[in-house]
Symmetry: C2
Subunit: 591 residues, 2 copies
């Protein structure tokens, strides 16, 4: 059975030194988010995550969920956790205090979110989706709709869901068939939605389903989609809950992992709903949710990898087996070089991923709260560039990290009771939902790089190069890091230049190179965060500030990333510059 201890020191380091809390603290509205307050918030959340949420993770995995008498049943322990979570006000941590939230920066919410995700990914999805749904209503809903729903959702008294997928419409939302017909001051929604996370449960009195559907006479394709808020129980104008609405769980999926999270087939049969935003602008409204959600899912990669790492580390310290090369026998396996390589590989990736995810989160705060419009645009461009990288790279990396975590256990890792296997199974969803890695990669290449002629990417490369240039060339602690990052920037620059010159070679080129481009960006951006961390740590050691052992470890870990991970940049670049030819060369029947 695995324990979990939220890595508060690492989180604070990333928040403070990589994501730049001080700058956020100076933004209007965030004056109260001082380093001391943030540390106190993290400590309090850590207590809940470690002691209350983490212990239910295995219960959710074992018991799973089921449909009974038209209701979805989840483990009782999940309800208890949910009550403590809402009682602490955590549901609205980074939502505005005007509407009942804590009003903390999104960055801080992200670190706290990582704790819930590590503690129990399956459980954490319920508040994650609620937050996303609340944001979409806050941004696009009418004042009346906001008055009706928002406070309840931000308090966590009601939860929220995203209803996009239908059997024939997965990645391709243009194929959505659910319909909406006007009825008085609302609409009647009919259709079947699948893969609806936390689509039904009894943890709260009500659930707000955000549903993409087509109005009568709407244009075909994604331009004909509208967004509706469909409550599980009807809401009177006074806010009182009334009859059950005609939205019902048909079944829950039998999944590889996140067993505690009910993945529902939902049937809407003339269910009453409210329009959110303008007619036929549903996709744009949904994207408000999706961009947050994509960062959130990228963070799940960090969180699951962290949990898997802690599990593996604990086992490696306890398990006595074999002898040290040329040394004493009966040692803990953490002393074996290959076990240590695995742990270092996990640790280095996790710190790089966390640094990148938190940095992206900080750009979201700047993009929303910077008083200067040009600055907001610049920050938004960076956020949008990094979002598919965080989502795609962190989740792809999490697959191998969770697998390595299991490997550290040897045969015990394959036995379910050990707990390592659950992390691998849970992690496996993260490259799929909220847009597969392929979707992220296409988004990165198409919308985020080619659409602005590569400007946002050039700006990013410039910033990474500035980090390289800022590393003290005379500081031997940083030499290997500096050299490797310089090589990495060179590979990224070469790939970007190749893309600019060749993306139009044929229609398949962007899609064929997109995955390798995303992984290249993740690797170099990860190395960038590690180099920044190492520079901060070296500075702190020199200044006699901070925890010397902690800072020394940061430098070692950054160097490991530079030595063992950044060289992959060359392999990704090499694959990219071969273009689409070989990938597309076979006929269907040659496979």
């Amino acid at each position: 059975m695995s324990d979990y201890r939220a890595p508060v020191s690492d989180m604070l380091f990333a928040i403070t030194h990589l994501a730049g809390l001080e700058r956020i603290n100076r933004l209007p509205g965030f004056e109260e988010a001082t380093p001391d307050l943030v540390e106190a918030v993290l400590d309090e959340a850590a207590q809940l995550a470690n002691e209350v949420v983490a212990p239910v993770n295995e219960i959710g995995d074992r018991e799973g969920t089921r449909v009974e008498d038209g209701k979805v049943v989840v483990p009782d322990e999940f309800k208890t956790v949910y009550r403590q979570f809402t009682a602490g006000g955590w549901a609205g941590i980074s939502q505005s205090s005007d509407i009942g939230g804590m009003g903390l920066p999104y960055l801080v919410g992200l670190a706290v979110e990582e704790m819930w995700q590590s503690a129990s990914l399956a459980w954490s999805l319920c508040p994650l989706l609620t937050q996303g749904a609340a944001r979409a209503i806050e941004e696009h809903g009418s004042d009346a709709l906001k008055a009706l729903m928002l406070n309840k959702m931000i308090a966590g008294e009601w939860t929220g869901t995203m209803n996009l997928t239908e059997p024939q419409a997965g990645s391709d939302l243009a194929a959505i068939r659910s319909t909406a017909v006007a009825d008085g001051d609302g609409y009647r929604i009919t259709g079947q939605k699948i893969f609806i996370t936390w689509g039904d449960h009894e943890m709260t009195d009500n659930i707000i389903h955000l549903v993409l559907a087509r109005l009568v006479d709407a244009p075909p394709g994604v331009r004909g989609l509208s967004l509706f808020a469909v409550p599980k129980r009807l809401i009177g104008t006074d806010g009182a809950l009334g009859e059950r609405n005609e939205v019902w769980p048909v079944s829950v999926e039998h999944k590889l992992g996140i067993h505690g999270s009910p993945t529902c087939v939902l049937s809407f049969d003339n269910a009453f709903g409210y329009l959110v935003g303008e007619p036929n602008s549903g996709l744009a409204c949904m994207f408000t949710m999706m961009n947050h959600a994509r960062l959130g899912v990228g963070l799940e990669g960090v969180a699951i990898a962290e949990r898997a790492y802690q599990q593996a580390l604990g086992y490696a310290r306890d398990r006595v087996q074999g002898q040290k090369p040329g040394g004493k026998s009966g040692v803990a396996i953490i002393e074996h070089p290959d076990v240590r390589r695995m742990l270092m590989h996990m640790k280095a990736h996790i710190e790089a991923m966390r640094g990148l995810a938190y940095t992206a989160g900080a750009h979201l705060d700047y993009a929303h709260h910077s008083p200067d419009a040009a600055s907001r645009d610049r920050e938004r461009a960076r956020l949008e560039l990094l979002t598919p990288v965080v989502k795609g790279w962190c989740t792809e990396t999490a697959q191998s990290l969770a697998s390595i975590g299991l490997q550290v256990h040897g045969g015990m890792g394959y036995v379910e009771e050990t707990g390592a296997a659950q992390h691998l199974r849970d992690a496996r969803i993260t490259t799929i939902y909220e847009g597969t890695t392929g979707i992220q990669a296409n988004d990165l290449i198409g919308r985020k790089i080619l659409r602005d002629g590569g400007q946002a990417l050039r700006d990013l490369i410039g910033d990474i190069q500035a980090t390289v240039d800022g590393l003290d060339a005379a500081d031997e602690r940083l030499t290997a890091i500096r050299d490797a990052l310089q090589t990495g920037v060179g590979e990224l620059t070469a790939a970007a230049q190749w893309l600019a010159e060749h993306f139009a070679d044929d229609a398949d080129t962007p899609g064929a190179v997109a995955f390798n481009f995303l992984m290249l960006m993740g690797t170099v951006c990860g190395g960038w965060q590690m180099a920044r961390a190492a520079a901060v740590a070296a500075g702190q050691i020199d200044a006699g500030a901070g925890d010397r052992s902690f800072c020394a470890a940061k430098i070692v870990t950054a160097r490991f990333f530079a030595e063992q991970v950044l060289p992959l940049a060359g392999a990704y670049r090499a694959a990219i510059v071969t273009g689409a030819g070989t990938t597309m060369a076979l006929d269907d029947e040659q496979f």
Copy 2:
């Protein structure tokens, strides 16, 4: 639900053109193993694998196994399959006809074994272990013991197991505590063994457990281990089955995958057993089994990846979603460049892995059957060098391939009923049992490279370089392949040279670089097999021989491997030449 069609054409290509069937056919004893006969054998096995074995794979996963009244219960369907398997004589395919086997080359047995493994990995483990146990008895057992057991095992009437692991003795066999006390013409074995694959079942009348235990007064460590054959039911001197022996299944593990394979805790309580080989030479006897078994488990990586690939390919052809870049909508997802990249990635790796595994298998045939002693030694050295590479690289690669196979399915891949998830779960054991990847990597560096001063590795590198030199530089179809393999050989040579100069830098160096060295060797050896395949295919096309489309696909696939996989060689080399320093730099408490 996934179907399986044994890829007979690909298997025959690898057997004929990469592993060199013709040369084996000329070895004494294998005169009957003509290409025509081998093709007929493969076709017959394919029919059984496709139609009988493959359909039970999902049943085994769903039903699993359990202990009831001191017996292990497995799905009834497994018994039916087992009966048809033994009726066909498949249990002894590559065992000598003198003792009741089919007498075919090990290479042919390997291809057929791949089919059983793809069809149902969980089920296939029972005959795999039986074959290994029979080989150990054949090689090390007394004539009396062989007369008592061998025909039954080779006919598959009795099965066999390997009993090494104890709770405190996993990778470290020196820690084994089970004891053996002489008793008349036999011994009494006492102890508890864990992780015993197919440790009990009712598919056959008897089971022969090969057990490592310590004789009274044996020296400590691995030099004090002896090997015993412990029957589940006692055997009279006339071969008749008697009383139940005192070896009992205590429990079966609840595992991530291979649910249909009972992984038992076995309790031996003064169980009667026969000594196999000399006292205190048990480890050497067991290694007879283990070397075969390691190649066999490496092959499991190929087999599971092949099954996952077929599953993903079928889905990609059927699933209609989205539009082609700049083209028509409503296309099967195999038309999307990123899906095609995933399928090509799987296909290219599988062909490379199969080529390498079969080539290693052929070296086993040469090593055993070549009439010339010097040739046998040379072949054995190559076999021993390649065995950890096949085991380690093919199974590590299979993890990512099975994961990619799931990814091709999108959300459906995460739903258990689809079948893709089972392949991922089943694959996950292969990097663990028969020695973890870390154990393989240490074996490669220590016993297979450093012990002979790098001679076997230099010979291998020489052969790969000869392949590069033999590729027609004027043939544009082969240019990219030639260039990439030349670069790969250069990286391997550089890493080997670094190792020769630095392995003694400190005691941790070999272990710290071993994993990356193994992956480097797998990548370059895989690229080598692909280059050889491309050269054969190009030659066939030029000669107007063979299936033109099949040969053209071989060249494209080899080129994909050269473009997208071989560049990893540089990253592995870069990691290796940084040595052990950073990997070992942290103190325990800094993790």
